[in-house]
Amino acid sequence: MNIPYTVEERPDTGLTNGKFGIWLFLASEVMLFGALFSTYILLRVGAEEWPHAELSVLLGTINTIILISSSVTMVMAWASLKMNNWGRHHLYLALTFLLALVFLVNKYFEYSEHFAKGEGPWHNTFFAIYFTLTGLHGLHILGGMVVMAYLLGPGAGLWKRNPEQFTNRIEATGLYWHFVDLVWIFLFPVLYLL
């Protein structure tokens, strides 16, 4: 049995099921990260002292630039499909995957440096919330990369069988990816600069 409304829009929502589904998922993600931001506020308001300049602003800035760039390549991957340019789509999606990988490599170096200095999540409250927030965000990056790898590899065949459905899948992946970028846009100043 085929899944309904993957290409045509549902009459009641005016959306495909996939698109409405990803938005509802993102709503649940807002609550997940919201709970952790709320925890951060509570910990910070309750702390007598809050550490400053514990993290490398340079690495954080580079990672911000990388994620913003990846958001652009992601939206361009979708726009290329809409303009029926498969080659350009493939290039942009591969670039997005690569940028995500560079982000994680940077994060690995950042984490390694802290662990080498004994600054793990157990070190103090700041590092506990830092590792929780960035670790969860990193897992989301990894999740996005798995989906992108599928769409670059085995999942790419759908473009020939059902181009509209494939475009919708790229759109849903893009929505998720922009959300991951959006979370980082708030994480960066909160953890690195304030």
């Binding site: 929502t13 709320s38 726009a79 922009h178 100043p189």
Partner: protein
Amino acid sequence: MHSDPAEVKKSVRAYMTVFVTLMVFTVVTVAASRFHFAVPIAITIALIIAAMKGSMVAGVFMHLSHERRAIYGALLLTLVFFIVLLFIPVLGYLDRVRY
């Protein structure tokens, strides 16, 4: 959202404008943090810039500026619960401080 290729082509220009603006705002955020403002002012500046950047990502890249009503409805409900989530622990903390 746009589905016509000609419309999408026009949107590409908007994506590039947002990209450049996001980069500029990132530099501004980092530069502002070097000024060592008082903590409440620094937090306000950083969060205002972050909110502006976030709304550009959501509005343009995620096409929220022209979406269906069902999505707005779901997000409005989420926003209400998100605000409650952010403020209830703070109110609880203030309560403990008072008594």
